[in-house]
Symmetry: C3
Subunit: 473 residues, 3 copies
């Protein structure tokens, strides 16, 4: 049995000069509160504060980073107990699933961020001293399950232990936010807020779009069969979300296309969308029109806008048929921003009070498109490296490729973007270490003074995210 160790210098530069700088910078930020303005944790956890289920349900089944790697190596989703559509039998024995994971964990995840995140959780959260492998699988499984039942491992207790200052979840405008209501009414002081993700009611290709828009009308009492009422309904729900602390919206379209149609064109396209008669191109334009409409609403109500384009969702037809959405089969696509965003930018790009945060899965746009755009337009900021690129090398490339053109102050700190609540400190720790790594190189190459770097490190960790997402400011 090998010892499980987290080296205090992990992710710092390899040469001693830069490493020493990184250590000093990190010491100044490692204990700052966690601000998590974008993620996918379940608000019910904090509303009900019930214990988490067992190790398998908590750490394997919901983590698509974990099971996509196992699946890629020929391990079936059935055997991993991944929730499937009716009629598909999957493994129910959590311990059996845990063993499959434990047998493969140490080898398959070498060099991946999942390995860093999970080792952190095992060591720092659960206190394991030996690595997870076949020989320790049962010990891990039993220990985790036991601890999860203790008060220290209840959701609110972990939230406080993790020193989380803000945590945003993400909900559809159709959500009644009952869990957020319960949290608010409970008197608990944890800042768990919502974010407004309108994809189900603004994307004509979303499953059940017309039905969703109808429901939106029912919820708001607006006539969503016409464009004007539809827009008003969307605005109403924004207000409702704001009343539960929302400070941002989030948009996960396939492309970054925006549009600025005339009112009559928009109305006609909306009618087509409701009738299910949009072509693929028309659906894209409608989504693009809604981005521009949302930017206009943000200018009024102050919500920060997040655009997350570029994912080919549910690429694996067989997996989608058996298991449904979000099963690790989303694949990035080439994504263009310069022409795509122009209609929105022509209308709102020069607004200094608007904050639109751009993300990408296509790293080629960092230096070519995103940094030049954010380094010019007052309304634009750059989100951190995202999803597949939320990793040490991904973070390094992000800073190396955007900083020289956009600077540090057109970026907005870190997003963990996760539903894996237990790993949140692990993820923020990786980001903090990699920022120190990058800054330490600048200092050691005499491109930045160390006191400036320390200042930047605090801004990247804490101040910029609060400003960009208007949290407590």
């Amino acid at each position: 049995m090998k010892a499980l160790e987290l080296h205090p210098d992990r992710l710092f530069p390899t040469d001693e000069n830069a490493r020493a700088v990184a250590r000093r910078l990190y010491a100044q930020i490692k204990d700052l509160p966690i601000v998590s303005p974008h993620g996918h944790t379940d608000p019910q956890w904090f509303a009900d504060n019930d214990p988490f289920a067992n190790a398998t349900d908590l750490l394997i089944k919901p983590d698509h980073y974990v099971f996509r790697m196992l699946y890629s190596q020929g391990i079936s989703m059935e055997s991993l107990g991944i929730p499937a559509k009716p009629g598909v039998e999957v493994e129910q024995d959590g311990r059996k699933i845990w063993h499959i994971f434990a047998n493969n964990y140490n080898k398959l995840f070498r060099g991946t961020p999942s390995r860093m995140w999970l080792d952190y959780v095992f060591k720092e959260v659960f206190g394991f001293e030996k690595i997870l492998d076949a020989s320790t699988a049962d010990f891990y499984f039993d220990q985790i399950n036991e601890k999860l039942q203790t008060p220290e491992f209840l959701p609110r207790a972990l939230f406080e232990k993790y020193n989380i200052e803000w945590l945003a979840t993400t909900e559809s405008p159709l959500d009644d936010l009952r869990h957020h209501k319960k949290i608010k009414e409970s008197g608990w002081q944890g800042n768990v807020i919502t974010a407004y993700r309108p994809d189900p009611v603004v994307d004509p290709e979303f499953e059940g779009f017309a039905e969703n828009v109808k429901t939106l009308g029912e919820i708001t009492g607006e006539d969503t069969t016409h464009y004007a009422g539809y827009l008003t309904a969307l605005k109403n729900r924004r207000e409702y979300f704001i009343s539960f602390g929302a400070t941002s919206t989030d948009h996960g379209h396939a492309s970054a296309v925006t549009a600025d149609l005339s009112r009559s064109e928009a109305e006609a396209l909306f009618a087509k969308a409701l009738a299910g008669e949009c072509s693929a191109r028309e659906a894209e334009i409608f989504r693009g029109q809604m981005l521009t409409e949302m930017a206009g609403m943000s200018l009024e109500d102050g919500l920060t806008m997040q655009i997350h384009p570029g994912s080919f969702r549910n690429h694996n037809a067989q997996v989608f048929d058996r298991y449904g959405r979000d099963k690790g089969a989303d694949i990035p696509m080439p994504t263009e921003y310069v022409s795509a965003l122009k209609p929105l930018l022509d209308k709102y790009g020069n607004e200094p009070n608007l904050c639109i945060i751009l993300f990408t899965l296509d790293e080629t746009v960092y230096s070519r498109e995103l940094a030049p755009l954010a380094g010019h337009y007052p309304a634009l900021k750059l989100g951190p490296s995202w999803w597949f690129h939320d990793s040490p090398e991904g973070m390094r490339r992000f800073r190396e490729q955007v900083t020289e053109t956009a600077g540090f102050y057109n970026t907005v700190g870190f997003n963990d973007d996760t539903r894996a609540f237990l790993s949140i400190p692990a993820r923020h720790d990786v980001a903090r270490r990699m920022d120190c790594n990058f800054l330490a190189r600048l200092v050691t190459e005499h491109r930045l003074e160390e006191d400036e770097a320390a200042d930047v490190a605090v801004d990247l960790t804490y101040n910029l995210v609060k400003q960009a997402y208007k949290l407590g400011v």
Copy 2:
């Protein structure tokens, strides 16, 4: 005259901490046998075991890396004796050609992999102590020519000296494999096997396609004027190749497009292709259909499938007119995989017993498309950095950009992909050193334990390639 030296630490990290780790890792893999599952050496060399010709014919004329660089600097192909089409006079004096090369070698190839490969050959294979330049040109030329006539430099002797465990050549289905037959019958124990490259009979735009398909029919006794007989003929030739050790197929299409046509659509398109009536787009779809057909055949007969897309072949019209194919004028193109591969993946992507190895000349797809695809689909693996990217920096980018999403175990070790037989150990040595370089960084950044890194190094060098190509397993 300057000394020719190969430093024992070459290609290792520059800082002492990481370098020390790299040294230890490399010590554990440097003497492992060479497994070369994909390349373009001539099987006749091993069949006949005749001496190689002179230095010029061996090291300059067939090496497009070498003469493309000389050509780019204004040195004519005529003066380099590059084999030309009838009517084009080229230099015949090998020594004169060698002098041109020697006069330019030291300067023009600085910073290129060719320089590393050739210096290795000069020092390790031929034992030269001084660098190649104008002053040593004749000495080199004479020494090489003399040594090539000795028993130690015969093809089979070098194969054994190089400790090659497996070496695959690449042949067309129309090839009778006479050289492989002769090797087999000779009793020599060297594992020289073939690989099945059907481009001439599956690409409607290949020179002589219809004639090639006709020949395929004659060879196999199948009626290749119809799609069914054509497919059967292709399968028959796969069986024939398998009888000569083939474990893989190879596909060098312009794009990664795949298709899954109905039988009647495929039949109709095949008829058009035979009649020479395909549009460019139809030819692409036909090639894509054949990739899917080949994947189906691989599922049956077990051949590993290699897809090498993205080269604009024979870009230089004047060079093609005078010298023909493969004259260093192939240029990479942007290549898309996510949509292109979907038809094939929808049909066969979830087959854990299928092994499809993807290559690219477009490095932008490493992190955006290939790693996410291979990190999900059981049937997909990633080939090493290829051709222009078979270089220290290319290998570094490959590992940095794919490992975090695809891990190490969805990659397949190194391919030398070369016709330059003498440089095979040099090329594998570069790959081994660069893998150690990358792993040493992970170890020094405390992202991987050193014993794990050693384990990975052996896998990358030896085990993964044998598994992926089913060599001796």
Copy 3:
């Protein structure tokens, strides 16, 4: 007040081994003369040799790198006094503008090349000992203004102090080159030459194209209403530019598209262009035709040809409406070269006496397209990393991604490409340091001998640029 320091080791590798090599290499090139073959300084400065205006007019208003960053953070262009179209009121008080800049400089420009360039100017040119911030703003403003009135700060004196051997400006064929004439007639020995930038008369989408072509006819006495006369007029102006030292042309098209139309097609398209009836695609083809025509003229008159494609000019509609061109709102676009350049290369790519230098704003093409093209075609060379990529990280990526395929000797040294005259030595110094950084890594990784690296460093700094631009050779 913090000290302003330029560390002697800035931009060198962080580990001691490589840093020591970089120091030695840099010592051998740091004092070489500056050769600046491509830029946008104003020839009137050297013709009239009048003092530069004040700090604000010299360092802020003309530097789009500076004001785009300020603008991106919500500081209005009005408040920065950026010259606007009639009717737009902008700040006139230079000191007030300087204060805005000073208040933001230290923070917003962290990690950017502007910070390195300006700190160099402040320290090395003006001799400041404290950093620029709010507390030193007035002192800086007054000192700079005072010094600018002294003889040592006159344009010619700075030119000589900077040890500039060649400096090229860029003019339209419609320019009468009066300033160059005045320089020539003045007897001053500074090599200030012009370069031929025909965009206004070869791009049908350039503002006033038809009028410009008419003017071209008037200037040359040729009938530019017909294609033949138009080509002759363009040739005549090339001759005129050559008489003022021009050794190069420059082409800033939106794409790299080239064309090789029949004479009748070209004539018909020219007529359409003059009539203002070209579609966007036809305008692109006409520009492409003109690139091929210009290559043909270069083959005759020897002018080196520079192609600078890929910028979406004036992306910000509101800024363009109020402030006009070149206001930091140009954004790079994805740019394809392999198919785009083929018509030109089919005609002239194999000419060893032609020198076409390719630039890009799309870094993805370095390893995929540009290095393979330049590593094959005798007529092609690669320009240095450009514009947004004229930065330490940009230079590093350039060398890492092109050297292995194109070598060093298909590149052409550094271009400062600037109108910020005072920063020219700062920019060349960054390039020299980053070349030494890259070379030092190669040496420390034992991929290049140190004496070879020193040789390459001199070539990259001095010899290659003079050869490629035929300066004094």
